[in-house]
């Protein structure tokens, strides 16, 4: 598989959010919004009832794949997010992407890079939950959406994954062509907290 494993160092990459919009996020108070889209993202497919599949992923990456909606498992620099009964998102920092790609190739299982097709924003701050509640109908009470969970939902009018990393800290995964809408929407909805 080629799939951008051998990343050229000298060719510049362009993120989905324009510099102008990125800068606007610095005006926010009570929430902090950052673009971390260059982290590595893969989709992994397989049958969780097949022990060979589970075992080969574990051997290659160290990850034991989560089996329930909302679950996330982590091992070393890698994270696996449950996406549907046969599908997972595997996430890592930008510098670990090549390594994870190689490990996935070693596993022999069906996978592909979606690093460039999916964006990831990090939202953090005391008003983060209030901000999300303007556009997301999930129940954010910790009995229903605990720290560590990742849920697929709708934010404003787009599909997103919300990974809750703390009481007021979230990773928001959104498809690249919808990401500018979500970024702009979050900035606009957060104006209330700007002073």
């Amino acid at each position: 598989m080629l799939d951008a494993i051998t990343k050229p160092n000298k060719v510049p990459r362009t993120g989905a959010i324009t510099t102008r919009l990125l800068q606007q996020s610095t005006n926010l108070k009570q929430v902090k919004l950052t673009d971390v889209s260059f982290q590595g993202k893969f989709i992994l497919w397989g049958n969780p009832e097949d022990s060979n599949f589970i075992q080969s992923v574990q051997t290659a990456t160290g990850l034991s794949l989560p089996r329930q909606c909302g679950e996330v498992s982590e091992k070393g620099p890698y994270r696996a997010i449950w996406a549907n009964p046969k599908r997972w998102y595997l996430i890592c920092e930008e510098q670990n992407e090549t390594e994870l790609a190689e490990r996935l190739a070693d596993s022999g299982q069906i996978h592909m890079s979606v690093t460039d097709g999916q964006c990831c924003f990090h939202l953090k701050g005391p008003s983060a939950v209030d901000l999300l509640k303007k556009g997301c109908s999930l129940n954010f009470n910790d009995t229903h959406f605990a720290t560590g969970q990742c849920l697929q939902t709708r934010l404003a009018i787009t599909k997103v994954f919300l990974h809750r990393k703390g009481a007021d800290s979230f990773d928001i995964y959104v498809e690249r062509s919808y990401s500018e809408y979500i970024w702009g929407w979050l900035l606009d909805a957060a104006k209330e907290y700007s002073s």
Binding site: M1, L2, D3, A4, I5, T6, K7, P8, K10, V11, P12, R13, T14, G15, A16, T18, F38, I43, W45, K86, R87, I110, M112, S113, V114, T115, D116, G117, Q118, K133, K134, G135, C136, S137, L138, N139, F140, N141, H144, A156, I157, T158, E175, R176, S177, Y178, E180, Y181, G184, W185, D188, A189, K191, E192, S194, S195
Partner: protein, 1000 residues
């Protein structure tokens, strides 16, 4: 300052030291903190607040709450303009500018008031009956009628405010913060359950703020304050004031409208803070403590300014510290108004008499009057109100057993008529929740039948028909314990506070008071100007169902929603039909309880956030190149790239020539892309496409059409074999999601055991297409490790490699008819790739081309565009694409349908080319090709694509023509805007007929 100052020297929940200036109908007034617009107007002696909806009668303030159906006003102007707001609910703020609605030129001198003089000529249905013919004139009448009626003026400029939603989840929602609601909240708070208390007023307390009873030796308003203070420290309790619960839906889903900034002076409203917040709440349990509304009595001229509900009068005195008049007469059919009489008297209002239709009111209330030397006229009624813009007196007569007036007639001078016709529980939300109502013969009201509702909801207090304070408090606490138990929380034993005895209701039915003259109007619905005679007329004319009555007379419609008129209308209809209220029934209440602004409904989905504008990773690159964008589905795609001074047509022709002569570059990133892997991949692809795929070798690409089960084409595209059991499928831009959903539907519903995995990767890969005789040269110049020789990399093949040092998937496929490569790279590298190609292509004269150019280029080659040549009724055979249908395939989606008689019959429309006799004339797309048979003319085809071709230097068109495949060479006629155009039918291919350029 105005003529009166009705403000009491002391008492009330207001701050006399904080004065607030506002204007009403451009006159300046001063109120105090804690005032509503209505209380401030009364304090300033303003009687006349508006004109009525239809008859333009003068109207004042008839209540102090949500039930107000008379004092509707508009607030603000320009970009902050709100119409039809209730003066009894809005708070005044410094600089507020309010005005009357539907009067011109002013509320005092209203031209439309002349209508009132002819009111006998204007019964219900008048307009529809009178202006029925000639039918076409209705449009003219309607304009005049609408402008003389109507409610308020629509704003003329864009709203300056923002609005938003708030989603939330609770264990328990308590609606209303009167005695029952506050008691429920106090009982539930320590449990730790997540509780939301919703109160429409700006202060918690409901009726406690107006009552004069005592709870635990405190005034009721002090008790409300102390409970509020008790609740505040609980993190699990959210107290929402200025919020109306407007809708109750299935699954305990509630909507509530929070008015966030309307009470603030405009100069301190901060941008970014929404004016209104529409809450969308899901909750386990609901307690409705929505209280009750006092019912007006129906008597002659009962709409005059100065006629007021007893509950309103007591609110003005006890809560706002204002006297609603100087000399009052009370008219009642029950006990509760007696307390108001005493309170008025003690506040310095002379109570001239209390008129009670009951022959012998209970001793308890009679004693109250005797102690305060108020005259009681029992067994009597107020049958007429005197005065026009303000009450000047009443006429009282005895009421005999036949419900007719006695011959006696007493005139009493007064400026205030206080009325009470009993109480109507506020059952709207219970009804919305699915509950049915039952008629309480003793209390003369509709109340909830709790057995009929399947949702987790309880009604408590007066909205449940339990009208005493003690009952409200105990029901509130009990319901809270029950709700906690239902939700799995523990509750402590309730602690019931001591209450001074409050009056019960004990009404005697009095649905309409007789009048001495037919011309005296008795209003049932002040809001819509519906009188008793309108209800009687509706019944006579056959509108006997309560639903028909409502639509015939407009009773209960509009912002007021019949809060005061509903029961009286039902009762009068029942009397007319010699029936009973339960037999007549009631209309089902629907959301919203009070009006919601369109702004709140739209929320944040306005302006740039109305819809997503999907952008490829090259959007900014195109922007810098001066592209003009065109929406394609949700995508924004470059339509063309004009140079200085160029028209669209000039730019497009230049772009087309660049592709045909040298090389052009095109952003194809929005094309749908699906990654297909797994052992059953080939099986899936064979089912999806009509043509065969078994022979597709590694590294090869093939074009295919997809059919729905009906045999009609719904998408097309190229699929490449990337590896063993690994394919890359492309779809059209607009159908990317549709195709993916279509595949998932089959895999999830029909082919569950197939081992195949489909992933949308549209935006993972950017696709840059380079097309033209110099495309290969360009690729060489920009640098690639792929062998580009025809032998190593022929047309319809795919190779992996690097282009400009970027890892890429290169597809040698073409939509222009030229030698062409579609270079796919991870999206974040696309701008670097594009720039490298532009730089390398400079000497070759490379030019970017947009959507319009590619459409013209593909039409020259006769390549179909899904959505132009296909419209959901076109088969591959219709397009002359029988080669794209696998004759030997055992199955594919749509296979059976292709054999249906209608899909194989002669005479179907088939794809042809058209060349106009006049080469410079471009036929409009959609034009019909006419066929004349005898004297009749009909369509035998239509033009699907039509352009000026730069390559041919003449116009070309594609069309769907009956039996078109067999008619090449024929001449056809089109009629376009009265002009006749002739054209020759050709095969749908105008350029490079043998495909030599493609394969070179």
């Amino acid at each position: 300052m105005s003529k009166f100052n009705n403000r009491l020297n002391e008492g009330g929940l207001i701050d006399r030291n904080r004065q607030i200036n506002f204007t009403f109908n451009k006159k300046s007034y001063t109120g105090v903190a804690g005032d509503t617009l209505a209380s401030a107007l009364i304090a300033n002696g303003v009687d006349l607040v508006g004109r009525s909806f239809k008859l333009h009668r003068p109207r004042g303030i008839m209540s102090a709450g949500v039930e107000e159906c008379s004092a509707y006003v508009q607030v603000g102007s320009g970009d902050r303009h709100t119409t039809n707001v209730n003066a009894t609910q809005i708070e005044i703020y410094e600089g507020m500018a309010a005005s009357s609605i539907h009067c011109w030129p002013s509320v005092e001198n209203d031209v439309g008031a002349v209508i009132g003089k002819f009111s006998r000529l204007l019964p219900s249905g008048f307009y529809y009956k009178t202006f029925m013919w000639p039918a076409k004139f209705w449009k003219i009448y309607e304009h005049a009628i609408r402008s003389s009626a109507g409610l308020g003026k629509a704003p003329e400029t864009e709203d300056a405010d923002t609005y938003e939603y708030r989603y939330d989840h609770y264990d328990l929602v308590i609606v209303g913060s009167g005695p029952a609601g506050l008691m429920a909240a106090r009982q539930a708070a320590p449990s730790g359950a997540r509780i939301l208390v919703v109160e429409q007023d700006f202060k918690l307390g409901g009726s406690l703020l107006s009552d004069s009873a005592k709870i635990e030796n405190q005034t009721t308003s002090d008790w409300a304050e102390s409970v509020t203070a008790e609740l505040q420290p609980f993190d699990n309790v959210t107290l929402l004031t200025r919020t109306t619960l407007t809708g109750y839906y299935d699954g305990n889903f509630l909507t509530a409208l929070e008015r966030v900034t309307d009470h603030l002076p405009i100069n301190i409203r901060r941008s970014g803070i929404a004016r209104e917040r529409l809450w969308k709440v899901r909750t386990g349990q609901v307690i409705l403590a929505t209280g009750s509304i006092e019912r007006p009595l129906v008597f002659g001229n009962n709409d005059r300014p100065g006629v007021m509900l007893a509950s309103g009068a007591r609110t003005y005195i006890n809560r706002f510290g204002v006297k609603p008049g100087q000399k009052a007469v009370l008219f009642t059919n029950n006990d509760t108004a007696y307390a108001t009489a005493i309170e008025l008297q003690q506040s310095g209002v002379n109570v001239e008499a209390i008129v009670d239709n009951r022959q012998s009111p209970p001793q308890e209330v009679r004693n109250m009057l005797r102690n305060n030397t108020i005259k009681l006229l029992s067994g009597s009624v107020v049958h007429n109100v005197l005065g026009n813009k303000r009450v000047t007196g009443v006429e009282v007569a005895s009421l005999n057993n036949q419900n007719t007036l006695g011959s006696d007639n007493l005139r009493i001078q007064c400026d205030l008529v206080i009325q009470s016709g009993g109480w109507t529980p506020t059952v709207h939300l219970f009804s919305q929740a699915g509950g049915k109502l039952l008629f309480d013969e003793n209390q003369l009201c509709l109340r909830p039948d709790s057995a009929t509702v399947s949702q987790q909801v309880q009604s408590v207090g007066s909205c449940n028909g339990s009208f005493t304070l003690a009952d409200a408090l105990s029901e509130g606490a009990q319901a809270a314990s029950q709700a906690l138990a239902n939700a799995g929380f523990k509750s402590t034993d309730a602690n019931y506070p001591q209450v001074s005895e409050s009056l019960s209701c004990l009404p005697k039915a009095l649905w309409r008071v007789p009048v001495r003259k037919q011309s005296i109007k008795q209003f049932v619905d002040l809001h819509n100007d519906v009188t008793t005679s309108d209800v009687e007329l509706a019944n006579r004319e056959g509108y006997r169902s309560v639903e028909h009555l409502k639509r015939y007379t407009a009773i209960g419609m509009g912002p007021d929603q019949g809060r005061t008129s509903n029961i009286n209308a039902l009762a009068i209809l029942a009397e007319e039909q010699k029936s009973t209220i339960p037999a007549v029934g009631t209309t089902r209440f629907r959301p919203p309880y009070t009006p919601i602004s369109f702004g709140a409904v739209a929320g944040r989905r306005v302006g740039e956030f109305f819809q997503v504008r999907r952008k490829t990773s090259l959007y900014e690159t195109h922007e810098k190149a001066g592209a003009i964008f065109e929406p394609a589905g949700l995508w924004m795609r470059p339509d063309f790239y004009p140079e200085a001074g160029e028209s669209r047509e000039q730019a497009v022709l230049r772009e087309c020539r660049a592709v045909r002569r040298s090389v052009g570059i095109f952003d194809a990133s929005s094309l749908g892309k699906l990654d297909i892997q797994g052992p059953d991949s080939l099986k899936l692809i064979n089912m999806l496409y009509a043509n065969g795929w078994n022979t597709l070798k590694l590294g090869a690409c093939r074009y295919g059409v997809m059919l729905k089960e009906d045999g009609f084409i719904f998408d097309d595209g190229v699929t490449a074999c990337l590896g063993e059991n690994h394919y890359h499928m492309t779809t059209t831009t607009g159908n990317a999601e549709t195709v993916y959903n279509w595949i998932e539907e089959w895999l999830q519903c029909e082919w569950l055991d197939w081992d195949v995995y489909v992933t949308p990767v549209t935006t993972q890969w950017a696709a840059v297409s380079i097309a033209g005789p110099n495309a290969r040269e360009l690729l060489n110049q920009v640098g690639t490790d792929i062998d580009l020789s025809t032998e190593a990399f022929p047309h319809m093949q795919f190779r992996k490699g690097t282009v400009a040092d970027i890892p890429a998937r290169v597809f040698r496929i073409s939509f222009t008819g030229e030698h062409s490569y579609e270079i796919n790279v991870p999206s974040s590298y696309a701008p670097a790739l594009w720039d490298a190609l532009m730089k390398a292509g400079e000497k070759l004269g490379i030019e970017p081309f947009g959507l319009e150019a590619i459409h013209r280029l593909r039409a020259e080659k006769g390549y179909i565009a899904v959505g132009l040549e296909t419209d959901g009724t076109v088969t591959p055979f219709d397009l002359g694409m029988s080669w794209a249908v696998g004759k030997k395939k055992t199955d594919f989606l749509g296979k059976r349908a292709l054999k249906l008689p209608d899909l194989t019959r002669p005479g179907r429309r088939q794809l042809v080319g058209l060349l106009t006799d006049e080469p410079s004339y471009v036929i409009p797309e959609g034009a019909q090709i006419r066929l004349k048979t005898g004297g009749l003319s009909r369509s035998q085809g239509h033009v699907s694509s039509s352009y000026m071709s730069a390559t041919l230097d003449r116009s070309i068109a594609l069309a769907m023509l009956e039996n078109g495949l067999d008619r090449h060479g024929e001449n056809v006629t089109l009629h376009i805007d009265g002009k006749t155009v002739t054209a020759q039918v050709t095969k749908p291919l105008f350029y490079d007929e043998d495909g030599g350029l493609l394969n070179a």
